[in-house]
Point group: C2
Chain length 596, copies 2
């Protein structure tokens, strides 16, 4: 090794020791006859000390070093005159006797500091420099730790890690596939897996009993802010289980990770049905760090807003609100901001009604013209509001209003400081619908519009008691499917699978597959079900998302070493890019540019 110790390990116990360090020049302080350099590596920072009186040439050489030079320094560990108690190596410094420049550095385009002056684009282009920053490196160290502990837990539970293939077959009934032309099979293509779903099910048919893999998956979507075309899953499957067994096992994983990685004890995870989640939070991944649940105001059996000549409420399919505790003192400006917020196109409401329950016991609303104090008292009762609370109400079409109120709820949670980065509220959402109607999802092939689409995937088992509904009312069929939600983020989801050939065939039929298509695309799986398939089920966790959650960050990008931007480009290596004609010819493909 070019070093004998690293930059994070020296302390007073090493005083007097001769050592060699390697690292990067973080910064230097030149006091004329004395000079100090902070030397950085992955493990920490150690201060180097140069003294003109002991060696003129050496301090001259040290003075010539620029930021981010890579150097090797030999010397003696001495006690510092002014100690820094905030760093592990803060009591000592290295009195340098020999200095070697291992590599020079031109000035980086942004500062290598926690608070850097580099913008997003610049940092992506020079990602290898961005990764030098402590903050980013710590994210990836966290990721490493989470992966290790995930494997430790699953190994202790007798899961076997099995690698499934990356070059598979295109089955574009889900999101779009990335495909790979085959040189040896002219006109044919592999596809990259959106998940190892069918393979892990086959492993269950093979009797592997418990499988896992931390695995790259691929989805050719129009990228939203926080999606990546390639992403990592903790992918798991178990045999001879019922839903409860999977919930217990992976609740165990979650608790293990929180304990080992963050030393946090997570209580048993509550279960919430999809129906309840939608009714109480307007969201199938509710942020349960705070309550503020939905209050329905115009239901047939309990209408506290109707019949008062207020057309907006009278004509609305749904009038629903939330009660923001202690927010009655919101200023006009704050309330206007909230109104602006709900009217944003992404939120989509047409307006906001509010009512303040003042400390003096009066209630004042933005619709006092229509509602008496007595009417408003009824609202307060419905909301369970107390003095000091603010009632916020939206009205309109059902789906749109629910969605908008869910956004408003989250916004209020943020504004009221209820969404603590270091509080973790975990739950299971269960009893998802099996199917949803595809009106024309832009992330699916256009030819799939106007069909039922599997909400989870086509291999999810309907609840046995709902199977009959597949023929009469597919939208009402509930699935043996579950999501793990933490702080309003869906970190994992899975289901009990179909393990019966006929039921699987029926499912494909509901999804609009012809018998031939189903056989062509998934015949291998349906055939496998005939050779003794055990009851089985599983789950997959979004590993990038889990890491960002553990890291207390909103974006996954800083938990991925080399992420792509929103156009799916890696701007550092400049990919994707054109390939040579020689390559195209060998692959039997040509580029067909669209007419402009």
């Amino acid at each position: 090794m070019l070093r004998t110790v690293n930059c994070g390990e020296l302390n007073l116990s090493n005083k007097g020791k001769e050592v060699t360090l390697c690292g990067w020049v973080q910064r230097s302080r030149d006091k004329g006859t004395l000079l100090w350099i902070d030397l950085r590596d992955r493990y920490g920072i150690t201060q180097l000390f140069f003294d003109e009186t002991s060696n003129v040439d050496l301090i001259k050489k040290a003075r010539s070093l620029g930021r981010e030079f890579v150097i090797q320094a030999k010397g003696t560990v001495i006690e510092r005159e002014s100690k820094n108690p905030n760093m592990p190596t803060g009591e000592v410094e290295l009195k340098v006797s020999e200095l070697n420049i291992l590599n020079e550095a031109i000035t980086p385009p942004f500062t290598i500091e926690d608070e850097t002056d580099g913008g997003d684009e610049l940092r992506m282009k020079y990602r290898y420099l961005d990764l030098r920053r402590n903050a980013v490196r710590k994210n990836l160290e966290l990721r490493h730790r989470l992966a290790i502990e995930t494997r430790n837990y699953l190994d202790s539970q007798q899961f076997l890690e099995v690698e499934t293939p990356v070059l598979i077959k295109s089955t574009p009934e889900g999101a779009r596939d990335f495909v790979v032309p085959s040189r040896m099979n002219e006109g044919q293509f592999y596809a990259l897996p959106q998940s190892p779903q069918t393979f892990k099910q086959l492993l269950m048919v093979s009797g592997f009993d418990r499988y896992y893999q931390i695995v790259k998956c691929f989805r050719d979507e129009d990228l939203r802010a926080d999606r990546q075309p390639e992403f990592t899953q903790i992918d798991c499957e178990m045999s001879f289980v019922e839903q409860e067994d999977i919930l217990q096992t992976f609740e165990g994983l979650t608790r293990h990770l929180f304990k080992k990685v963050k030393d946090i004890d997570i209580p048993a995870l509550p279960r919430m049905t999809y129906a309840d989640a939608m009714r109480n939070y307007g969201n199938d991944k509710p942020d349960t760090r705070f309550e503020m649940t939905f209050v329905y105001l115009n239901e047939a059996n309990n209408n506290v807003v109707g019949g008062k000549e207020f057309k907006v409420f009278d004509d609305a399919e749904l009038v629903v609100g939330i009660c923001a505790k202690g927010a009655a003192n919101y200023t006009r400006k704050q309330l206007d901001e909230l109104t602006e917020f709900v009217k944003r196109p992404q939120v989509g409401a047409t307006g906001l009604v509010y009512a303040r329950y003042n400390d003096d016991g009066t209630i004042k609303s933005s619709v006092d013209k229509f509602y008496s104090e007595e009417d408003l008292k009824k609202w307060a009762t419905a909301f369970g509001a107390e003095k000091g609370d603010l009632m916020l109400i939206l009205a309109g079409g059902k789906d749109k209003t629910v969605k908008a109120l869910s956004e408003l709820r989250l916004e209020m949670g943020t504004r009221l400081g209820l969404r603590y980065k270091n509080a973790f509220s975990c739950l299971w959402v269960v009893d998802f619908p099996l199917l949803e109607w595809n009106e024309g999802d832009p992330n699916l092939l256009a030819s799939l519009a106007g069909r039922w689409h599997a909400k989870h995937h086509p291999f999810t088992s309907p609840k046995p008691e709902d199977i009959e509904l597949l023929k009469t009312d597919p939208g009402a069929v509930r699935a043996n499917a579950y999501d793990m939600v933490i702080n309003g983020v869906e970190v994992g989801g899975g289901s009990i699978r179909i393990h019966n050939r006929n039921l699987q065939a029926q499912m494909f039929e509901v999804l609009g597959f012809s018998k031939e298509e189903a056989q062509k695309q998934f015949g291998f799986l349906m055939n496998a079900f005939e050779f003794g398939a055990p009851p089985h089920g599983g789950i997959a966790f979004g590993f990038d998302r889990l890491c960002s959650l553990f890291g207390g960050a909103d974006s996954i990008r800083d938990f991925i070493a080399f992420p792509k931007n929103n156009s799916g480009r890696d701007v550092m290596i400049d990919s994707p890019s054109e390939i040579s004609d020689e390559q195209l010819i060998e692959l039997s493909i040509g580029v067909v540019k669209a007419e402009k």
Copy 2:
């Protein structure tokens, strides 16, 4: 869980316990009023017992079960009358009180036994059934264990596991890339990585210090018998190291794996130069489980075969042989077989000369017409041959003869039983040449023929003392490159990397890149070298190969859950396959079939 215990855990200590088992019907024995079923799962086999006197309906149901039916059996653990000491559960059986069929099974196309009646093709098509066989499953369990222990060791050595991207950029200077058309970037392509080489080097530039990953890599090669288009590497890189540090660290990994997984203590790994390996074994991955090194017979300073009117030897560029200990008693038939062996096209020799050192002290050769007993004594001295030994000699052009003799040496090792499956001889081969001349390697793009090609890869550092030769005699430059060889298999290889921009640019120039090409394809890396790149180096192990070696098998295929065949096809899922016009149009590509 549908079971309370698995099929591998019951023994006499559980006698009298009520338990529930799930699994597959391996076989049944029907003695009329009594019936036994072997129930199988991943963990073992437990015998189920049915007794007509206690329940007529139950034994009837049991009798209806076919091979590979999936069942659930409840009952009481009882002591067996006739115990089977060869299986962990052999002292007990389950007296069944309730039997549920979880799934039926049609008859599998081959038997699910260690010695199956299924041929290769059938087993590949029904891979999910082949994976039910103990032998295959045990291979994948071994793989799991090796992965876990690899990570444990590297984690203990402060390596960080970092995932690098799968969608990268095509740089077809090595083997052919698989490419992926980008829908969002018309006419552009990603490539799948042949290795994470440039990314791991960038991680070193980022100061990650020690990186590893067990990672899928891709190479679009014409597949040889034991190659896969996707394969798995243990990929590692370290900073501030010299070659010796890497050899020590990964020798440590190898010893850790042998100890933990096979409880074998591996001695310190010897080092052998490439030159010595080629001279003594004719092979840069010598099988050192046995000696039988090459003996050169017509070298200028030591010619023991020339001048005796034997034209074959006199005209040969090279006369070289091996001494097979104790094989002097080989029959004429055996010697003829060896002659046939060396004349095979894959071996390529034109003939074989032999000389027996008989027990009576006489030496008899196949060329006695030209060589006297005294001449042959000189041969024996050169070979270090003793009574009972057989000398085998080839002659011809140098490269061809060396290659043929290497094959013959391995063949003799096999015939003499010197290549024990459970003996492991590990070594490092070092000082590889940096470059080799590409005469037209079919695994490279045709446009790369007639150029120097990097033997390891273009990022490998030449030995500092040889850098000057890059300009005058590129073929003579030695690299700081090393391979780990176990039992004649190259299980890993790596190098110290170039970390200087100018040297890297010079390397690309030698490889025939124009400045523009080098900048376009690898500019990001060369730029990174300007921002303070540390000295670094690394290694990659072929994980599939390592697993097969630990498993004592020759082929990697049975250590991969879902391998592809020699045409790169997955015959189980029938991939690659055609994709829809809708997909092609979205991807801006078309299929261009070659004229027939």
